[in-house]
């Protein structure tokens, strides 16, 4: 079909992404993560005009059954648009939010591995290396930078290197949630953010992502990973300590005994897989002592990335400590309880980038 309309449909989609019209609930995101297509109904957008109050907002019946001949388009325009959202579309959306899914520097790393391989290199790889050496000698690259491997697409013009996809690393995503009474109203927001990060990880790790749920108040317990919807509805009474929860992650990694009601308990192989941690809390904690910080000190080197989402502004103390101790590995953000596009984008921007 000729496309005189071009990318008009995409423009419309981008517009509704931007203008809060498309709000994905945590259940939608859960379903998309499960591979389903979610149908969202969005009211038709209209450019505002000077109009009578009787017709200005709402009202009006569905447009045109019968033999409309395409005239008088400007008049009506009431109705809805049904949009299907699946993994592909959510990925597009996340990319339009500036969240990258590719792994940088993959190609060079791989070639370097080949160069230092014990078996040596084959004929085709030799040609590529020759081309690289020739280029670097001609341009004086080695003089400036020393002997470094720097292969460009041009060097691979023989294109005979068959990139063997190294098996993707798997990842474990630990979602740690403060379930004390003060957190009861943040369930939906937490689930949305956690769902989107889960989606982001699944895209990065080819779907090989284990998810572990830890709920904590003054004590911590691992919840069943098959009942993720229930996890975000949990509310318990009592105060809050962070130390037991972080200690539990360490215990999981060390293979020690820990408190769990999950059927799929197991060790986190932090040496052979990437480990991500998301901690959602309101920052209201009773412990800020040495014990907590020493636990964090042991834990951080073992993690690939740690996210800290503070949904209220009780105290800055732990927030600051988390950021300073984690360094590059820690991303923290404070946010209100708002599932609108703008806020979700803000939170994900600061957590994932």
């Amino acid at each position: 079909m000729t496309s005189e309309l071009g990318d008009a449909e995409d423009k419309y989609r981008r517009k509704i992404d931007k203008e809060d019209d498309l709000i994905l609930s945590s259940i939608d995101i859960h379903n998309i993560n499960d591979g389903q297509t979610v149908i969202k109904t969005i009211p038709v957008k209209r450019n505002p005009m000077i109009s009578y109050s009787a017709f200005g907002e709402g009202g009006g019946e569905g447009e045109g059954d019968g033999q409309g001949d395409g005239q008088g388009h400007g008049g009506g325009g009431k109705g809805v648009v049904n949009l299907g959202i699946d993994k592909r579309r959510l990925k597009q959306m996340m990319q339009s939010w500036g969240l990258s899914f590719s792994k940088p520097g993959k190609k060079t790393k791989k070639l370097y591995k080949l160069l230092i391989a014990e078996n040596g290199v084959d004929e085709n790889q030799e040609k590529t290396i020759e081309a690289m050496l020739e280029r670097h000698m001609a341009t004086g690259y080695f003089k400036e930078h020393g002997f470094k491997v720097n292969v460009t697409d041009e060097d691979m013009r023989y294109n005979l290197i068959q990139e063997k996809e190294l098996p993707n690393l798997s990842a474990t995503f630990v979602i740690m949630r403060d379930v004390s009474g003060s957190m009861s109203s943040y369930g939906e927001f937490s689930a949305t953010i956690a769902g989107l990060i889960e989606f982001w990880l699944r895209q990065r790790y080819n779907n090989v992502v284990n998810i572990r749920y830890i709920a904590h108040t003054t004590d911590a317990v691992e919840m069943d990973s098959k009942k993720s919807q229930d996890f975000f509805k949990l509310v318990a009474g009592g105060g809050t300590y962070f130390q037991p929860a972080y200690q539990m992650v360490l215990d999981m990694m060390d293979g020690k005994h820990y408190n769990s009601i999950s059927a799929s308990r197991g060790k986190i192989e932090y040496e052979s897989e990437d480990v991500f941690l998301l901690h959602i809390t309101d920052g209201d904690t009773g412990d800020n002592g040495e014990e907590l910080y020493s636990t964090l000190k042991t834990l951080f080197p073992r993690l690939t990335k740690a996210f800290y989402l503070q949904v209220d502004t009780y105290s800055d103390q732990f927030y600051k400590a988390f950021v300073s101790m984690g360094g590059e590995k820690a991303n923290a953000v404070k946010s209100g309880n708002d599932v609108s596009y703008k806020n979700v984008k803000k939170v994900l921007d600061s957590l994932l980038n």
């Binding site: 109050s53 019968g66 001949d69 395409g70 005239q71």
Partner: protein, 525 residues
Amino acid sequence: MAHDSLEKLLVDGNEINIVVSRGSIIDEKYTKEAKKIASFMINSLGLSFGNVEFKMLDNEEFAEKMALYGTPLPSWEAGQQKLVQEDQMKYRLGVIYEMVGHPYYNTLEKKEYTAVYINQNDTYDEVLSVMAHVYGHLHMHYNNRILKTIDSNSNKHAFYRGRYREMESNLSIEQVEKLYDHAQTLSGLMDMFPDFHRNKKNKYYNTEKANPDSDVYDVYKFTLDNVKFNPWERELLDMEYDINKLMKRVRIKIMNEGFATFVEDKYVEEVAKTDIETAFKMRKGILQVADVLSPAQLPYYLGFRLFKDIEKRWNEGKHGPLYNLLSDAEKRNYVKMENKGLTEALGIVKSYTDWEFLFLYADTDFFNALADEIKDKKNALIDRQYGDKYPEDIDNIKEKYNAKIDPNIFRFQLLLETENYGPMVYVPKGSFNGTRLVLRQDLSFLKRYTGIIAEEQREKFEEEVAQMFNLYNKETITALNRISDMWGIPVSLETMNNLGEPITITTNGQKTDISKKGSGPKFDD
């Protein structure tokens, strides 16, 4: 020989061609049928039109054509329109049978064709019936004086699309789209009824200087003339202005749809002579469309009824000044077979607009009959719904539901549905000095429509008017903000609130101020 004469279609002495195509292939079977119907239209009813190409499209293609017709630029609005149309057709929420497109030039045959799009999912009978309907539209396009002035064509729109894309790549999508949205907001203030406003004539020796020198109803054009835009902005606004001129068609929507359905009905009568079963199916289709009173179908309903009424009256000679002098009883018995119905209908579509059509031909009897009919229909519905449940209260229910069906109120509602596709707003004479743009609402058409209202009815009438026609709402204020953003100066709108008190809404793009000063909308000419 008879076969030959069927194939040659002569309009005003020129031979015309009719083709039905499916993709790039010509559909022989449908082409033959289309020619047969055209022959009936031209020779028996006296219609006239040019070369036609019917294109059979699937749902997606149809949706794209619909979107491109109303919103030819590839903006987000076009994308939305396409999704809406496609959805409606996919789930059969609203079936759109046909669309008359723009004329295009066939370089091979060196002829101009009008493209007509038909949904290929329709049944055989539906397609034939729809073709008959389309010939009615084509006759209007070929003859009506307003439709003739709309010089939109597909090449021009393709060129606009190209320019729009260039702008997007040179600037940015956001920048272009922002101006596009502003232009769409402004397009509601184009003057669709230039011959409708009564301009007071200037004196012969006029020494006073005023800007503008008369009331300006085309606020869009006034903006183009008075605001300094960048070249690309001006070009985009000009393009939008040209595209939105298509809206002129709403001025003859009732007549256009009414006439097309009327002609379709004639064709069904012809079919009934030989094939009663097919004719029955086709008639059912017409009644589905032209017998339901909803805002979307009002043009079909009203136009079709009125043309039928006119045909009957002119066939029986029930018109003219002499007839009007007769008493009611005499009128009822008066019959003078003239058979001028069809001639009269063809004359109407040539030069009239909806306004004249309704005013000159829809008399009180017509509205009374219509009101009675609706009453009967509603009563039948109430009987069916509540007849068994509440047999004692049924009369009360009927009375309650039918209280609103007064022929006069019905006329009034019609006015709202038909003539007012948007509020009339103008820049008053001498109000513009470069620091503030003043807009004023014009409600003078009310007086012309209703005539002089009796004192005892006046209060209720004014109450109703204030409820219906006040412009004090969120959407209007957003629109005013946009207009102020374009002009770079504050914009005021003189209107009224829902109690009928005059108010002035002033905005500078960020702040809105509502004051009870100002003269409010204009009621008198």
